[in-house]
């Protein structure tokens, strides 16, 4: 099915892709974030073992989420102990019951005593069950509370992270920290801690009672303990490398699926189905291969443990019987020992399973904390001010900025704009126009120079206040899963329905909104994916016109809107601009012509400045751009 050459090529591709991260072949800026593990894969978290670093710190930090629940946790601990002692003691009851009441040495059993003893045993069972139920209930509540707290912290922190973080990190990867990783942590709080505790208690109390019943038989049974542990360790050790190979293969497979299915329309246009499929088949087979080795080993563990346990059972029964015959063990004792040896493997098995979950949860917690530790936008300066009666006089002086230290994206940018004025940026793609726009609401902080509003350096203004005074319409319109009405209202939460509709009318969106299924109540889904690019932009403009901010930035706000609609919006926008300081970025020169100041940018610098007529007369780059168009007309 798959020809060899293609398969070899794929092999090379996936090897070299792994290497590409360490070499400088990547165009995209190297990520600041350590991308730990693979994002995808539902099965993933269960197996992603490996001890995290700084174990102690992580545990400490996790505990900080539980500190408030100390009392509840203490109760839970109490009930765990109660439950285990009650249940172990209850099973031990069989010995006195058999020895004293059923087959007493040299006597006849008594039904009354039997009934009494059984009643006691029953109440022990009851006590054990109730305390277990209470304990699990407490732990469930505590863990859900903690999970919500972690989610909240993570989300709140996310809101404070700089735009740079979102530009550089993979959404899917971050999301998986919210879901998979917090889930695993919750699972640990929910189950693992209790299981480990109760495993340890059961194991020790069982061993204690076995030794109390008969030392030699108990010791023989205990020989199986290190044996079991040895086998378990062997499996885990060998399994780990298989698991990580499996997880890596799964990650690559999911990554391929994600990218290729998202681009399925392009696949169709290029008749690329067959090639895509053969790549998929290759990755799928690779995953299958790795999974077969990992899972064969893992699945062998259960029967091996069971077999060992059965062996223990048989040996204890045989040896115990031998002791019985010699008169060194009573029948009740034999029954108890045999029962215990049968239950022996369970806590041990649980413990080893839970240790795996525990480790992957700690690794998950580490990934969650990694985001919590990502530097947020720097805090407002202690003497930061709020803008009062802001006129919107914006001044940009000798500003430099680069996304990385080496290459400044914009250099020596200087301009001023005050209320009622309009400054326009033109220039080819990649010249740095959008970057300049991003600097004013401090999505990124400048590296040199100064930006002031009403004479106040924007770094001296409280960030939230600054952004309230800057209204920016972005190149890509992003919408929310809400009704059209609510989406527009996002611009000003207290806007009335009438104001929203007026804004939509101004943005020329009213008529198409009415044609939607439920008009203004139509709920947009998937970032408004059922709307055309132009319609989305119209909604973005409507949203922005609700804002009363004195500084207005429009970054290619109408690039996908057809020119007739743009024309009718223009009047509204002009009205809006009359009381604001406006910055416009556009490649349609018709939209910038009436600006008070036109700045032509090239390779991060302003190479020409002036109004339309001056620039045309100068005969420079603007003239070229403009006449290039005019010539064609």
């Amino acid at each position: 099915m798959m020809d060899d050459i293609r398969s070899q090529r794929l092999q090379k591709k996936y090897q070299s892709q792994a290497e590409a991260h360490s070499t400088n072949r990547q165009i995209a800026a190297p990520k600041d974030l350590p991308t730990a593990g693979q994002g995808g894969g539902g099965m993933g978290r269960r197996f992603s073992g490996g001890k995290p670093k700084n174990l102690q710190q992580i545990v400490k930090r996790l505990y900080s989420y539980l500190r408030e629940e100390r009392i509840a946790l203490a109760f839970a601990l109490f009930f765990v102990i109660l439950h285990n002692f009650a249940s172990v003691y209850a099973s031990y009851m069989l010995r006195p019951i058999i020895n004293d009441h059923i087959v007493p040495v040299g006597g006849v059993g008594d039904a009354a005593g039997l009934a009494k003893a059984l009643g006691f045993m029953g109440s022990l069972y009851m006590c054990s069950m109730l305390s277990r139920y209470t304990m699990t209930n407490i732990l469930l509540t505590v863990s859900q509370k903690a999970q919500r707290k972690i989610r909240k912290d993570l989300f709140t922190h996310l809101q404070q992270l700089p735009v740079r973080f979102f530009d550089q990190s993979n959404t899917g990867e971050t999301m998986s920290r919210f879901t998979n990783d917090i889930d695993t942590v919750g699972e640990v709080l929910n189950n693992t801690v209790a299981q480990i505790l109760s495993g340890v208690i059961t194991l020790t109390s069982t061993i204690g009672l076995m030794l109390y019943t008969n030392v030699p038989v108990a010791l023989i049974s205990l020989i199986f303990l290190p044996l079991t542990k040895w086998i378990l360790d062997g499996f885990t050790k060998r399994g780990r490398s298989f698991y990580s190979a499996q997880q890596a293969a799964l990650g690559t497979l999911n990554g391929f699926i994600e990218e290729s299915i998202s681009g399925q329309k392009v696949v169709k246009v290029f008749c690329h189905e067959e090639i895509s499929t053969s790549e998929f088949v290759w990755l799928n087979q690779d995953y299958r291969k790795k999974q077969l080795s990992a899972q064969s080993l893992a699945s062998a563990m259960m029967p091996a443990m069971l077999g060992l346990n059965n062996l223990n059972y048989v040996v204890v029964a045989g040896v115990g019987l031998l002791f019985c015959i010699n008169g060194r063990l009573d029948l009740g004792g034999l029954t108890v020992l045999v029962n215990y040896s049968r239950q022996f493997a369970r806590p041990l098995n649980d413990l080893s399973g839970q240790m795996n979950t525990l480790y992957s949860a700690l690794a998950g917690a580490e990934r969650v904390f990694e985001i919590l530790d990502t530097e947020p936008e720097p805090a407002d300066l202690p003497d930061a001010v709020t803008l009062e009666n802001c006129t919107g006089a914006l001044s940009v002086q000798n500003v430099y900025f680069g996304y990385n230290a080496k290459n400044p994206a914009v250099r020596d940018i200087t301009f001023e704009v005050s209320s009622g004025q309009k400054v326009a940026f033109v220039g080819s793609t990649g010249a740095g126009k959008t970057t300049v726009a991003n600097l004013i609401p401090r999505f990124y902080d400048i590296s040199d120079g100064q930006i002031t509003i009403d004479g106040i350096d924007i770094r001296q203004i409280k960030r939230a206040d600054l952004r309230k005074h800057v209204n920016i319409i972005l190149q890509d319109t992003h919408l929310f899963t809400k009704s059209v009405m609510e989406n527009i209202r996002y611009g000003r939460l207290d806007a009335t329905d009438e104001e929203v509709i007026a804004a939509a009318e101004m943005a020329n969106a009213h008529s198409f909104i009415l044609q939607l299924k439920d008009g203004y109540d139509t709920v947009l889904e998937h970032d408004g994916s059922n709307l055309s690019q132009g319609q989305r932009q119209l909604l973005g403009i409507a949203r922005a016109t609700l804002s009363e901010a004195p500084i207005l930035i429009m970054d290619e706000a109408t690039s996908s809107v057809d020119t007739r609609a743009e024309k009718s919006i223009e009047k509204g926008l002009d009205h809006l601009a009359s009381s604001r300081a406006t910055i416009v970025i556009a490649h349609r020169l018709s939209t910038v012509r009436n600006a008070d100041l036109i700045l032509v940018m090239e390779q991060g610098r302003i190479i020409e400045r002036g109004d339309h007529d001056t620039l045309l007369q100068r005969g420079g780059r603007y003239f070229e751009l403009y006449t290039g168009l005019a010539e064609l007309a």
Partner: protein, 578 residues
């Protein structure tokens, strides 16, 4: 389920062998307590050491055989289920490759990704579990019951009485828990949607200073999730106590009745020991079965989601094409009375009664306002959509009569929201032509005005792009997509608003190159800017799905109102100045 039967059949021998191994393993295991009981019973009366050793050895041997039986059983079934899952994944992927644009829109690509990853894994986990527990647990329950009856019918009846009570409890728990789990799942979905949205919309949120507002919104959803999770899991907490309670009560009753029997001399101690062991075994198996049942309902949801994909009727294929292997010749295009609506019920048509004719080698411009149907119209040429009425002809033959592959190979289309893929630039370009030479790439990238940029990169064509072409600016991505489309050397080239982020001068260069390099290719250009189309051989003007104008720039400017409106919205002021 019927979708999965063929695969189940393919691995039937493996499943069968695995199941048999597990079955014998489980049944053998059930006999162990009984053997031990026999030993204990005899042990009191006879003191034959040799007999004890013999029986001991037999049991050790049995245990070892059982170990290998269940080892083989588990490993075989696990392997079979992994292969099964891989096959399901592949079939689903292949099916997705067949889906049409309309299918893809209804199923949502995002959801398809989850189905291929999470849902297939769910099924695999379930199959593994059902093979492991599904045979072992029932076999053990039945085996244990049988032996219990043989030992003592009266005592066995007690176990028999408890089982239905327990079964009812488990069923009740599952019935109550399932809808709660479903609710919890939808809360999780809600949380994820909100999260994803706030991440992609971060600039909007920051620009409007809505961080706190979003955090509040998130906390509300998060609280709902917490409540739903508590409600669902609380029910499940009842599972263990109710099982243990039943087990303990049974044990007590058995010890009570059995003890009295032993006192009365009707029964031996060993049998009592065996009985308590069987009670434990039966109940443990029941716990296993009930957990499996809960999981099965989740797997059923996943299986349903996969089946939905496999069941989707591909609404566009070339099964009835009469000239499947015919290659496209010159690339002339004709639309005859084409009408189309997306939803058959919607009142207004997206396209109504469109007819026009294009000679091969011509350049055709398409203009019209947002939503006027330009993209819909153009997608009918490579059959990404089929018209409801009328027909589209290429070289005088209805496109539905061509094979899809030769047709789409001859028609190269640059989509509005075009995508690049992670991998090197050369790999991305090779989508157009699998083994393109560097010189061919250079030619295509030169035409698309992106050659100089690529060659200025340190690694040139080997430079790696991130996901979706991350690392390139909007205009660079668009030009890459054009270059990729050019490498196909198509007979028909369609640019659907593919230069919106490219500056005017560069765009003019691209057009000039296209005319020179591809004189015989029919070119369709959809554009917002009149300047992009005004030197076309023919311009089509669309308005609300109707063809309202057809002609050269000069002709349309002279007598077409819609065209004039569009034109003057862009050029009026220039004339004022002039």
């Amino acid at each position: 389920m019927r979708h999965f039967l063929p695969y189940a059949k393919r691995y039937a021998p493996l499943f069968l062998i695995g199941a048999l191994f597990s079955l014998f393993g489980a049944l053998g295991e059930v006999t162990l307590p009984n053997r031990v009981a026999g030993l204990i019973n005899r042990g009191i009366v006879t003191v034959e050491l040799s007999e004890l050793f013999q029986e001991g050895l037999v049991m050790v041997g049995l245990v070892i055989v059982l170990l290998f039986l269940s080892l083989a059983g588990t490993v075989i079934t696990v392997r079979a289920s992994i292969m099964l899952a891989a096959d399901i994944r592949e079939t689903t992927f292949r099916k997705i490759q067949e889906l049409s644009f309309t299918n893809l829109d209804t199923l949502h690509t995002g959801s398809l990704v989850t189905r291929l990853t999470n849902d297939v894994n769910q099924i695999q986990l379930f199959v593994m579990q059902i093979l492991r527990m599904g045979i072992r647990a029932p076999a053990q329950i039945i085996g244990a019951l049988l032996i219990a009856f043989r030992i003592n019918t009266q005592l066995a009846m007690i176990i028999f009485g408890v089982v239905p009570i327990l079964a009812t409890c488990i069923t009740a728990i599952i019935i109550v828990a399932l809808p709660r789990f479903r609710l919890m799942q939808s809360c999780i979905d809600q949380t994820n949607t909100l999260l994803q949205e706030t991440m992609t919309n971060v600039r909007v949120i920051k620009a409007f200073v809505r961080g706190d507002y979003e955090a509040e919104r998130f906390d509300k959803v998060s609280e709902q999730l917490q409540k739903a999770a508590l409600r669902a899991n609380r029910v499940m907490l009842l599972q263990r106590p109710s099982m243990t309670l039943a087990m303990n009560v049974t044990t007590i009753i058995i010890v009570w009745l059995g003890g009295r029997k032993i006192i009365g001399g009707e029964m031996q101690v060993g049998d009592l020991t065996a009985f308590t062991a069987y009670v434990t075994q039966i109940l443990n198996s029941l716990i296993g079965v009930s957990t499996m049942l809960v999981n099965s309902s989740r797997a059923a949801v996943s299986a349903g989601r996969i089946a939905e994909v496999l069941d989707t009727k591909v609404d566009l294929n070339d099964d009835n094409a009469s000239e499947k292997d015919r290659a496209i010749g010159s690339g002339s295009v004709e639309f005859r009375n084409v009408s189309f609506r997306y939803f058959k019920s919607s009142p207004s048509a997206v396209l109504s009664d469109i007819s026009f004719k294009v000679e091969s080698g011509q350049t055709i411009g398409l203009v019209g306002s947002t939503g006027s149907g330009k993209t819909t119209l153009i997608q009918m040429i490579p059959r990404l959509l089929d018209p409801d009425e009328g027909s589209v002809l290429v070289d005088g033959i209805d496109v539905r009569e061509y094979g899809l592959t030769p047709l789409r190979n001859a028609v190269s289309m640059v989509l509005q929201d075009n995508l690049l893929f992670s991998g090197s630039i050369a790999e991305n370009l090779s989508w157009g032509k699998e083994d393109a030479l560097e010189s061919e790439m250079a030619e295509a990238t030169e035409t698309a005005q992106i050659r100089l940029f690529i060659e200025s990169l340190p690694a040139g064509y080997e430079s790696e792009l991130g996901q979706k072409g991350a690392g390139l600016s909007g205009g660079q991505k668009q030009r890459m997509c054009i270059a990729r489309a050019l490498l196909k050397s198509p007979q028909i080239l369609i640019l659907d608003d593919s230069t919106s982020a490219v500056d005017t001068a560069t765009e003019a260069n691209i057009r000039e190159h296209l005319t020179r390099v591809m004189p015989n290719t029919t070119k369709f250009i959809i554009a917002q800017r009149i300047s992009s189309v005004m030197d076309a051989d023919k311009i089509l003007v669309l308005d609300s799905g109707r063809l309202v104008g057809e002609g050269t720039h000069q002709e349309l400017l002279a007598d077409n109102t819609t065209y004039q409106e569009i034109y003057y919205s862009q050029f009026k002021r220039e004339e004022d100045i002039a």
